[in-house]
Amino acid sequence: MDIFYTFKAIFISGLFLGSLYAIIASGLSLIWGTFRMYNFSHGSMIILSAYIALQAISVGGFLFGVITAIIISFFLGIIMEKIIIEPFLDKPEAQLIVLITTLAAMLLIDNSIQIIWGARLKKLPMLLEGRLDFVGVGISFQQLIIISIVPIILILFSIFLKRSRIGLAIRAVEQNLDLSLLVGINVRNTYAITFGISAILAAIAGVLLGSNYLISPSLGAGYLLKAFIVIIIGGLGSLTGTLLAAYMIGIIEAAGQFFLGLYWTPFLLFTILIVVLTFKPTGFFGEKGA
């Protein structure tokens, strides 16, 4: 096996992992940017939307399933924000309380999934069957679609944040809460919608994950942890940083799995994380004091 082939294969599988991490972490990063809070239930939301999509696909086909999952997740996100975040925002230790309530929400979602759909492994239908030869490396259409669709979704998402009224409101609240209140932005609703949008990103991530891997109710925590590493290395609250870090982590993980094996890759990732935190606590693209 020649060495270029190895590197190409690692690069492509890293790109694929990176795309998944990018879509998983972007929702988390949005919440961090707007609320300055960490949402522990994001991983579980991803898995929940995968299950919702699975259920809806069995009723009305693939496209119907995906759209249903996105819509349901959006409203679930808003309901969750109203119940577990909004009542606590004015409290002095809001950050800590929200950490705990989202942790509780995670517990709630994981176990509800187990009750509704059972603990057995499930899988969504593939986006597209078949493989092709790409720069000398075999790659499935499935992976190719995910690699190309994720940047498009995220670019659309950032255009939405920059151009639309809701997006502008979200960014205004993120940058200066008091002035946003002064110019008449409904901050409470903006928070709820932000959470809903983050749930939409979770739903897309859930569909992409579920069409590629087997899903089970307890998977959320693992993906959450990866997303956590990604947003910390990228810099909390910076969307560009999150994306670059996602691809970086994807490629490092693919290389780690090839050279070190499955057991030691988490060690590698955490070592990198601790080194980054020690020498550059704001991440590579994070704002000062974030």
Partner: protein
Amino acid sequence: MINKLGQIFNKKFRGIFILIVILILLPFIVRNNYFQYILILSMLYAVVASNWDLTFGYFGMFNFGHVAIFVSGGYVAAILSKFYGISPWVSIILASLFSAILCSIIVLPMLRVKGIYVVLITYGFSQLLYQFILSQRNLTGGSLGIDLIPDIYFGNYSFAQNGKIAYYFLAFFLLIASTLFLTKLVKSKFGLSVIALKDYEEYAVSRGVNFGRQLILCFGASALFTGAAGAVMAFYLGALSPSMLGFGYLIIILSSILVGGINTIYGSIVGALILVVVSELLVNIGAWRFIIIACLIIFIMRFFPKGIYPSVSKLYKRYM
């Protein structure tokens, strides 16, 4: 002398004294193994939760690695006594020291970072420990866990005799010792400096409190009894499993701090008693158990943000 005894039985300590007497007599009155199991478990969890309160509440660090310290204490004691034939008593002490040293090492990156980052480092540490336990199969038993951990002997008396009643008193002793240690520590000069660091770090540092030193000492101190509790748990159950590092355990113990009341050593003990009993009562309904616990946590956070201990102590003051 009599004056001093009078002081001990004054209003403040009367309740605690009555509670201690009840707890000593309880296993002789209710001779039910399952009941005893719940009590032992809740006392051990109370030790873990109240020590966690030291770093989580008093120091204000979002420490998510405390359960990992607890589990590592258990594994160290189990491995030492099973594979190296070291006496359980010595292994409990060694496990406690090992946990303290380990905890002081994990805390090092926290000299640089704060807040949400601490969650990641400490939770990441517990995931690393999980991976480590899985990969060192011949020592830790991998995902199957470690079992056949030897029993504790006191002279010729095996702790497994008489329905494991001796473990009840060992756990009880640990809880009393840990609570005395914590209440003394919190009121000492060291404890005050830790609280000062949480309340206003810049001012405390400018008045000569060494942040790094207090941080390492505080985490080390909180690990001492936690590691010992893990070791006692290992000997009591006779088996350990890496699934203890999952979110379920973490949430139950963490929520016992919050349900009981943060920044009150006694609150987390009360919380641990309540949560262990609730979660054991619900053990037969499968996944619903965690759903109910999650709703309980959200409910308490919503309506008793300071935990239930302040309300309990108000009631206590009114009726005792």
